[in-house]
Structure formats: structure tokens, C-alpha cells
Symmetry: none
Subunit: 226 residues, 2 copies
């Protein structure tokens, strides 16, 4: 289920969007201002964000910058301002699209689909299954098997493994992992990673004390070696 975060200070628009999106099968999260938008985004990790400019507390570009600091979630900006300077500012700050009010609901939905499609096709580019020795990681199905047997992972364990598997072979920094899975405020809680990597190794590695796939790069991060 695709999860959309809608940010708007006008309760009426918020309600209209919520109803329309929910009717199309989206799960809708809402926030009435920039501060709470950043908070919800960090906490719930929506798949796409619809952001109204002209929020009461923060400047729109600052909200975008705040999100882009740690997340690549697509952002579609809504605005009553038709001024091209605003569009340029928002897009250069990292927005993916810019729609001016009044907007057609079907156009917004089409742009939403386009944004989600881009994000998912790029992420899953190629095969949705990563093989590594006796492990098969099904990214689409969110399931891991070891020697053909399904291994049960908790949501956090899966989040870490998924992120590492999507970048398999590459080093993923601790900050990256923490920001993606716990949120940007947890960037320094490297302790969490040690605990969870140990759990993952115990569940997935043949010899947990001599890992072959979940490799630690001291001081830098972790690497999934297929």
C-alpha cells in the first residue's frame, strides 16, 4: 500500500485530498504545518509527500531542504503562487514536481502516480531478488530464505537488511542507515546498529562471529557482500 503524507494548513483542502487519495487506495498521513510534516516524515517514512507551500511556521523551501537532508522521498509541491521564481526555488531545493492551485484532482493523481512509479522502478531496477550464498532476499516480497527456509525478521531487522541489499557490494554509512530507518534525529545512535547487525548475523550467517555477507567497515559503515 502506497503511503502519502499530505501537508497543508487549510483543513478543507486537507480533507478533500484525504478523501480522494483514500478512495484511490492510498494510505494517507497528514500534517498541518512544516514542523509536524518533518516529524511525521521522519517517523513514518511515507512513500511520497504532497507539500503545500505557504505553511504557517516554516518556509516551504526550508521544509524541502530539511527533508532532502536525509531522504529521497518524492515531494510534490502544491502552491497558489504562479510566480515562476517560487517554482524554481522549490524545484532547486529538491522538490520533484510543482502544481499550482487550483489544480485538477486527476492531474494531481497522475503526477502522484508518476512520482511513485519513478521512485519504485528506480529502486527495484533489475531483479527484485538478491542472492548471497544460501540466502535469497526477496525485496518485493519482503522475505528472506536461508537454505530455502523462511527466516523471520522483525521490521527493523528487515529495514536494515533491505537497505544493505539494495546497495549490495557498496558501503552504506552508519548515518545513512540510521537516518533511513530510525529517522534523521538518530544519526549518532550507532549502538542500535551494533545490536541489530548482531541479531541479523545470528539469524542469517552460517558463522555469526565470522560474517561473510554482513561486513563491518570499522568507523564507516556496513556492506552487504553477495
Amino acid at each position: 500500500m502506497t503511503r502519502v503524507l499530505v501537508v497543508d494548513d487549510d483543513p478543507q483542502i486537507l480533507r478533500a485530498l484525504k478523501i480522494n487519495l483514500a478512495a484511490r487506495g492510498y494510505t494517507v498521513l497528514t500534517a498541518p504545518d512544516g514542523t509536524r510534516a518533518l516529524h511525521v516524515a521522519a517517523h513514518d517514512h511515507p512513500d511520497v509527500i504532497v507539500l503545500d507551500l505557504g505553511l504557517p511556521d516554516l518556509d516551504g523551501a526550508d521544509v524541502i531542504t530539511g527533508l532532502r537532508g536525509w531522504s529521497t522521498t518524492p515531494i510534490i509541491v502544491l502552491s497558489a503562487r504562479t510566480d515562476s521564481g517560487d517554482k524554481v526555488e522549490a524545484l532547486d531545493a529538491g522538490a520533484d514536481d510543482y502544481v499550482t492551485k487550483p489544480f485538477g484532482m486527476d492531474e494531481l493523481l497522475a503526477r502522484l502516480r508518476a512520482a511513485v512509479r519513478r521512485a519504485t522502478t528506480h529502486a527495484v531496477a533489475g531483479e527484485p531478488v538478491v542472492h548471497a550464498g544460501a540466502l535469497d532476499i526477496d525485496l518485493a516480497g519482503k522475505q528472506v530464505t536461508r537454505d530455502g527456509v523462511v527466516v523471520h525478521l522483525t521490521p527493523t531487522e528487515w529495514g536494515i537488511l533491505e537497505l544493505l541489499a539494495r546497495h549490495h557490494g557498496r558501503l552504506v554509512t552508519q548515518r545513512q542507515l540510521l537516518a533511513e530507518i530510525w529517522g534523521p534525529h538518530y544519526r549518532n545512535e550507532t549502538h542500535y546498529l551494533r545490536v541489530y547487525l548482531a541479531q541479523l548475523r545470528r539469524k542469517l550467517e552460517p558463522d555469526a562471529s565470522h560474517p561473510r555477507h554482513l561486513i563491518t567497515e570499522p568507523g564507516m559503515g556496513y556492506r552487504f557482500q553477495p
Copy 2:
């Protein structure tokens, strides 16, 4: 340099876009109709496509579909039609953005930048690897191999090597290295560099006392010679 394919049957618009894009440093390819657009796209692999709807030969949605069959290159649609049905059709066919004429050039440029940025940040292909004799430095994966064998580097060692490799062939001053890796307060601690360069040579060079890649420029700094 980013390469843009502009598709439009109106020579005047084509010319205006070409001039504006070229002035911003883009390399511009052009095509006057759908058939040739598909041909040029297949042959030259542009980084982004600006596509006018209402081409003389093919329906716009068909051009998009034709491109999407094999390519994920970002497509920005231009159109005089403000009808939301057209927008939905184009976006659902696989377009990334939809701009209605008349459009502001700076807005189009901003949307172009946004499309290119998305495509490149998500890009898995085209990994930047610097080769130097028996050394392969994978900048994205943060990994070095020597004769195909992975060499383990500490964070500081990697930081120095990365900085030198990113400027390969050019001289990097000691102050630059110290400021980038230890912070601006350490600008005079040239001693650190001597210690770490020695370690790097021991790990990477065939003959550490006669370095071929990690070259000292006395009194100035260091240079990575591929």
C-alpha cells in the same frame, strides 16, 4: 556534460530552446518529429528528453510508450493543451513532467534540473571507478582492490585516498587534505599526513619506498597518479 534531446515540430521553439539550453551548458540534440526522436534517443542516449506533444507523425503518448519500452530517461512533456485528460494520459504513459505552453524558460530549466538530479542520484549504473595500475578505487562503494584483492582501509586512510583519487592527476595541497579530513583547525599538522601517506603506500604501492601513484610534491602537497 548533460545532453538534452529536444523534440518539437515548430522550428522557432526548437531554436529558442536550443539557444537557451546551450547557453546553460547543456549539449542539445534536436528532432522535428516522433520518428526521428525515437531514432535519436536510441542512437545517442540523451540524459533527458523534452518532448512537445502534437507532433506531425506520431501521437505523443505513443512516442512516450515507445521510449519507455527500453529506456528510463526522464521525459518532460511540453504542450499547448491545458486539458487535464492529456496530462493524465502523458504522465500515465510514462512522462516525468508536463509543462503547458506558454511556459517560462526558467521554470522549464528548473524542472529540467529536477529531472536530471533525480535520474543521477538514483543511477546505479555508471559507477565511478578510478584505475591506477593494479589498483581499482571504487568511489561509490568505498572499496579498493589491489590485483583484485580487497585492501582494508581505515576511515582516515580512505578519506585521504578518496580526496586524492577524486582529483587524480592534480596536486592536492596539505592544507586542503588536512582541512577536509581533520577539520580546519588541523591545517598545520602536516605530520599526520606523513604518517598516513606512509601507511597508504605500504598497503597500496608495489614498492612503498618508490611510490608510483601516491606522489609527494615537496613543500606543496600530494598527487595521485593513475
